[in-house]
C-alpha cells in the first residue's frame, strides 16, 4: 500500500507525460503481479462497487474528527473532494502498528472487500482502524480505493505505455487484452504481460478507433477523393460482438450494454460467429427515417431491463460503419474500403429478405427492418470536392447528425485517438450570449474559486436562467470572474451566490431542445463558455425568443 500511495503522489506531482510513465514503470518494475494488477484496476478508473455507503463514511469521519456535521460540509465545500476532506479532517495518524506496510492486494482483498458483508458498526471499526494507521496522503489514496474516482491525470494509454515498456511487448496488444471485463488477479496479470500470443476471451472487444476534431480547413487534408465521408451521429458508440454463439454489445466506456438494446442483440444473433461490428446506436424514427432526439435515447440508457412501452416509443438501431473481425479473423489492418466491402456483405445477410427468424424480438413486428443496418450515405451521388462536402455538412441538422466524419481511404483501424486518418468535422454548435447571475465554487482543481456559473437570457424584460456551465474559461479568466463574484455578491444561498448581472458570456451548445421541465422552456446539451464577451453589456444578451427561433 505504501508503494502504491507513493506512486499516486508521484503521478500527482507532475503534469509531464514522460515523468508519469517513468513513475508507473518504476512501480511495475518492483510490484508483484497481484499488486500490479490492482494498481492497473484502480488507475484505469475502476472501483470496487458498493463497498461502503459514502453517507456512512461521512458520519464516521465526523465522529472521529469530533466536528459538527455543518462544519464538515463547509470543509467539503472548500475542498471539493470527499476522500480528501475526510483525509484532512481526521485526527493525525494514531497507531504505531504500521497498517501501511500491508500490500495493496491485501488491503483490498482482506480489509476492504470483506467489509461489504459486515454490519455498519463492524464496517466502521474496520475503516476507522485503517484511518488510524494511515497518514493524510495515504488516507486520501485509501479513500479513492473505497469511493473511486482516481483522476490523477493518468489515462489508460499511459498505463499501457508504461506496462508495455516494463514487459517489452507492443502497446496495442496490451490495450486489447485490457479491454472488456477482467478480474484483477495475478493470473490475469500473467496473461496481460505474456509475450506470446494468447487466446482472448470471447467477450473481448477491440480498442475503439477515435477521431480528432478537424480544426483546420479540410483542404489541408489533400484531395477530397482520398477520403470517405460519413455522418457523425449523436448516439452511443458501440461494438457488437458475435462469437461462439454468443452476443456482446460494448459501449465506448467499456460497459456491457447487451441487455439495454435487445433489438440490436436480436439482430446480432443472426450474425455469423467471428463477427465484430463497430457503429453507433441511435433511437430511430422509422417514419422520418432519421434518429430520434438524443434525449429520447437517453431514456433507454442505464436501465437493467427495458420495458415494452419504452421499446415501442424509443426503438433503437445500430448503424454499423466498420467491421473489425470477419469470419473469425481480426481484419483491423485492412483498409477501411476493404473493411466496408466485407461489412456490406455481412449486413446484406441480415436484411429482411432473409426473413426474420423466430424468437427475434422486434418492437414493430416481424416485417420491420432489422436493427443493425448500414448508415444512410451522405449523398446520393459521389461527392468529390471539399466544397460539395461542405454543402452536405450544412444539411447535417436535417438528419440530426452532428456533422461529418472524414476517414482516409487507405487507413487501417487503429487504437485510440491517433492524429491523421479519422476526423470529426462537426457543424458549428449553437451559440448564445447570456448573463452570469449565479456562481458557485468549483470542485477539485477549482475548489477555492467561483467557477461554476448559472446563466440567464431575457424574457419579457426579465432574466431567466437557462444553462449552467463551468468549462471554457482560462484559469486567469476564472480568477477574474471569481474576483467579480466576491465583490458583487447580492445574496448567499448555501454555496451559491447571486451576483449583480453584469458579465456577458458567449455559450456554445451541442444542441438545444424544448423542455417543459425547465422554467425557460428549453434544455441545452453540453453547454460551455466559448468566450467572455467583455464588449457586451447585459442588455446585449440574447432573448429567449431568439433561441426558440433557432429550434424552428
Amino acid at each position: 500500500m505504501k508503494d502504491f500511495c507513493e506512486l499516486y503522489w508521484r503521478l500527482d506531482s507532475t503534469t509531464k507525460t514522460t515523468e508519469k510513465v517513468a513513475a508507473l514503470k518504476a512501480y511495475f518494475d518492483v510490484a508483484t503481479p497481484s499488486n500490479a494488477i490492482w494498481a492497473i484496476h484502480f488507475l484505469n478508473g475502476n472501483r470496487i462497487k458498493r463497498l461502503v455507503n459514502t453517507r456512512l463514511l461521512r458520519e464516521w469521519a465526523i465522529a472521529e474528527a469530533n466536528v459538527s456535521a455543518w462544519l464538515f460540509e463547509e470543509c467539503y465545500d472548500r475542498v471539493g473532494d470527499l476522500a480528501e476532506t475526510i483525509s484532512l479532517i481526521l485526527p493525525p495518524k494514531q497507531t504505531v502498528k504500521d497498517v501501511v506496510e500491508i500490500s495493496l492486494k491485501d488491503i483490498v482483498e482482506q480489509h476492504l472487500i470483506p467489509v461489504r458483508e459486515l454490519e455498519p458498526e463492524q464496517q466502521r471499526e474496520n475503516v476507522v482502524q485503517l484511518w488510524q494507521g494511515f497518514d493524510q496522503r495515504q488516507r486520501f489514496v485509501l479513500g479513492k480505493l473505497i469511493m473511486g474516482g482516481f483522476r490523477v491525470g493518468v489515462s489508460k494509454r499511459l498505463v499501457v505505455r508504461a506496462l508495455a515498456t516494463h514487459v517489452g511487448i507492443d502497446a496495442a496488444t496490451i490495450t486489447h487484452r485490457l479491454m472488456g471485463q477482467w478480474e484483477p488477479t495475478a493470473e490475469f496479470y500473467a496473461e496481460l504481460v505474456d509475450p506470446n500470443e494468447t487466446e482472448t476471451a470471447i467477450s473481448k472487444p477491440y480498442p475503439f478507433f477515435l477521431a480528432n476534431p478537424l480544426k483546420q480547413e479540410p483542404e489541408s487534408l489533400g484531395d477530397a477523393e482520398d477520403w470517405i465521408a460519413e455522418w457523425k451521429w449523436d448516439g452511443i458508440r458501440a461494438q457488437v460482438i458475435r462469437r461462439a454463439g454468443e452476443t456482446f454489445i460494448w459501449s465506448r466506456g467499456e460497459d456491457l450494454v447487451t441487455d439495454q438494446f435487445p433489438e440490436v442483440a436480436a439482430a446480432a444473433s443472426r450474425l455469423a460467429d467471428g463477427t465484430v461490428l463497430d457503429g453507433e446506436i441511435l433511437g430511430w424514427d422509422e417514419s422520418q427515417d432519421r434518429p430520434l432526439e438524443f434525449s429520447q435515447l437517453q431514456r433507454r440508457l442505464g436501465r437493467k431491463k427495458v420495458g415494452k412501452k419504452l421499446l415501442t416509443e424509443v426503438p433503437v438501431v445500430m448503424l454499423a460503419f466498420d467491421l473489425l473481425e470477419h469470419q473469425g479473423s481480426d481484419i483491423r489492418d485492412k483498409t477501411i474500403v476493404q473493411r466496408q466491402e466485407h461489412l456490406g456483405e455481412v449486413i446484406k445477410l441480415l436484411q429482411p429478405a432473409a426473413k426474420v427468424s423466430e424468437g427475434v424480438f422486434n418492437a414493430k413486428g416481424n416485417d420491420a427492418p432489422v436493427a443493425i443496418r448500414k448508415p444512410p450515405s451522405v449523398s446520393a451521388k459521389p461527392v468529390s470536392s471539399w466544397a460539395d462536402l461542405a454543402a452536405v455538412r450544412e444539411t447535417s441538422k436535417e438528419l440530426r447528425a452532428e456533422g461529418l466524419m472524414l476517414k482516409q481511404r487507405e487507413s487501417a483501424y487503429q487504437v485510440g485517438r491517433p492524429v491523421g486518418d479519422w476526423w470529426k468535422w462537426k457543424v458549428d454548435p449553437y451559440t448564445v450570449d447570456a448573463v452570469l447571475i449565479y456562481a458557485q465554487r468549483g470542485h477539485g482543481r477549482r475548489a477555492n474559486l467561483y467557477s461554476d456559473y448559472t446563466f440567464a437570457v431575457w424574457k419579457d424584460g426579465e432574466l431567466v436562467t437557462f444553462a449552467k456551465a463551468y468549462s471554457g474559461l482560462t484559469d486567469a479568466e476564472i480568477r477574474k470572474v471569481d474576483k467579480f463574484v466576491r465583490k458583487n455578491t447580492n445574496e448567499k444561498f448555501g454555496p451559491v451566490r447571486s451576483v449583480t448581472p453584469e458579465l456577458v458570456f458567449e455559450l456554445a451548445f451541442e444542441n438545444i431542445q424544448r423542455s417543459s421541465r425547465h422554467k425557460s422552456g428549453i434544455a441545452v446539451r453540453f453547454p460551455r463558455i466559448s468566450r467572455w464577451r467583455e464588449d457586451k453589456k447585459p442588455a446585449d444578451a440574447d432573448k429567449l425568443d431568439t433561441i426558440l427561433a433557432m429550434l424552428d
Binding site: 463547509e74 475542498v79 479532517i89
Partner: protein
C-alpha cells in the same frame, strides 16, 4: 449574518467603547488612534509590516521595536515611525497600549489596549508553529480577543516545519541531480526568510529576487541569521549555472520574462493553501510545500482558550464559520468585517494608499 444579530451581549458594550470598526479601520476613540487602518489617519498603531496591515499615507505610526528594520523598508524614509519595546506600556490619551510578540513574521506584534480594567487584544496575524526568524507568540489574557481566521477550518493542520524543510531539501537535491533550477515561491516578507533560515544551505548556491533580497537585508540588520544569498541581478545571467541553485522569489515573479533566464526549472510554492490538492493543481506548481505563517485550526482554538477572553471578534478568513463554531462551544463570538486579507496566493502588494 450581520454582526448586530450575533452580538447584542452586555459585555460587548464595554469592548465597543474602547474599539469600534469604522470605514477607516479599527478605531480607539478614547485614545484617538487606529490599529492597522486601511485608510490614511492621524495616528496608526501597526501590528506588522505586511501591506494589508501597514498602509501608506497615515501621519504617524507606532509599532513594536522589533519591526523597526522591516517596517522602515516597507514604509519608506518619509513615513513618520516611532517604536516601542515589546512588553513595555505607553499611555496614549489615557489608554494603555502594549505590544506582545505574535510569531507571524519578524517584528509582528499583538496590540493590547486597556482602560479602566478592560482590555482588548488585536492580534493582527499570528502563528504558534516554530519560526527561527521571529519571537514566538505569547498568549495574552484579555477581555476581548480579536483574531484572524485565514485558515479557520478543521482541514488545516500544519505539518511539523522541520519535515517541510526536509521535503524542500530533497526536492532541491533531486532538481540539482536532473539539472533543473529550483524555483521556490513565497511571500518576500516573512515566508522567504523563514524558508531561508530553515533549509540546508550546503546543498548549493541560493539566489533571490530583488523584493526578497531587500527584506533579507532588513532581517540581517535586525540580527536574524540567514544563509548567504545573492541577488539575481548581481550576476551575469548567461555566465551563471542556475541548475544547481535555489531561487527564492515572490509568486508573481514567474510567468514573466524575469524567470526565463533560469532555463529548466521546477517550480514550488510554500503556503498553507498548498494543503489542498485542488489549489496545488490549479496553480500548476511542480510542488507545493505546506508552510504557513498563520495559525491552523487547532492552534486557533487553543489560542482563543488561552486568552481566556469573554468575547471573540473574528476577522479576515473563514470568519462566519469560526464564529458559528465558537458559539456552539458556548463562547461569545462575532464577525468583524475588516479589509485585511491574510495569506493569499499572490504576493502581498507594496503598501498602498487605500
Amino acid at each position: 449574518m450581520p454582526a448586530e444579530q450575533i452580538c447584542g451581549l452586555s459585555s460587548m458594550g464595554k469592548a465597543q467603547d474602547l474599539l469600534t470598526v469604522t470605514p477607516k479601520g479599527l478605531f480607539c476613540k478614547e485614545g484617538n488612534f487606529y490599529v492597522d487602518p486601511w485608510k490614511p489617519v492621524d495616528h496608526a498603531v501597526i501590528t506588522h509590516a505586511h501591506a494589508d496591515h501597514a498602509r501608506w499615507g497615515s501621519k504617524r505610526y507606532l509599532a513594536a521595536d522589533t519591526s523597526s528594520q522591516v517596517l522602515r523598508i516597507r514604509m519608506g524614509d518619509k513615513a513618520n515611525l516611532s517604536f516601542q519595546p515589546l512588553g513595555k506600556s505607553q499611555t496614549i490619551n489615557g489608554v494603555k497600549v502594549t505590544f506582545y510578540p505574535a510569531g507571524h513574521i519578524l517584528g509582528s506584534a499583538q496590540v493590547k489596549i486597556e482602560k479602566g480594567g478592560y482590555s482588548i487584544v488585536v492580534s493582527g496575524d499570528y502563528k504558534r508553529n516554530p519560526d527561527a526568524t521571529c519571537l514566538p507568540f505569547e498568549p495574552v489574557r484579555c477581555n476581548t480577543f480579536i483574531t484572524e481566521s485565514t485558515f479557520g477550518l478543521p482541514i488545516y493542520r500544519w505539518p511539523d516545519p522541520q519535515t517541510v524543510f526536509d521535503g524542500i531539501n530533497q526536492w532541491w537535491q533531486s532538481n540539482r541531480e536532473s539539472g533543473k533550477t529550483s524555483m521556490l515561491l513565497a511571500y518576500s516578507l516573512g515566508k522567504a526568510q523563514r524558508l531561508l533560515s530553515g533549509i540546508d544551505s550546503s546543498i548549493g548556491p541560493i539566489y533571490t529576487h530583488g523584493a526578497v533580497e531587500k527584506l533579507n537585508a532588513g532581517y540581517r540588520d535586525s540580527g536574524v541569521a540567514l544563509p548567504e544569498t545573492t541577488f539575481v541581478g548581481d550576476v551575469d545571467a548567461k555566465e551563471t549555472d542556475w541548475s544547481q541553485s535555489l531561487v527564492v522569489a515572490p509568486p508573481a515573479a514567474v510567468g514573466g520574462s524575469w524567470a526565463k533566464r533560469f532555463g529548466k526549472m521546477s517550480v514550488a510554492m510554500a503556503s498553507g493553501w498548498m494543503q489542498i490538492r485542488g489549489t496545488r493543481r490549479r496553480r500548476s506548481m511542480d510542488r507545493g510545500f505546506i508552510l504557513s505563517d498563520h495559525v491552523d485550526w487547532r492552534d486557533l482554538m487553543q489560542t482563543i482558550k488561552e486568552t481566556e477572553a469573554d468575547d471573540i471578534w473574528v476577522t479576515h478568513g473563514f470568519s462566519d464559520i469560526v464564529v458559528r463554531h465558537l458559539q456552539e462551544q458556548g463562547l461569545n463570538a462575532k464577525v468583524v468585517e475588516t479589509e485585511f486579507t491574510g495569506e493569499t496566493l499572490q504576493e502581498d502588494a507594496e503598501p498602498s494608499q487605500a
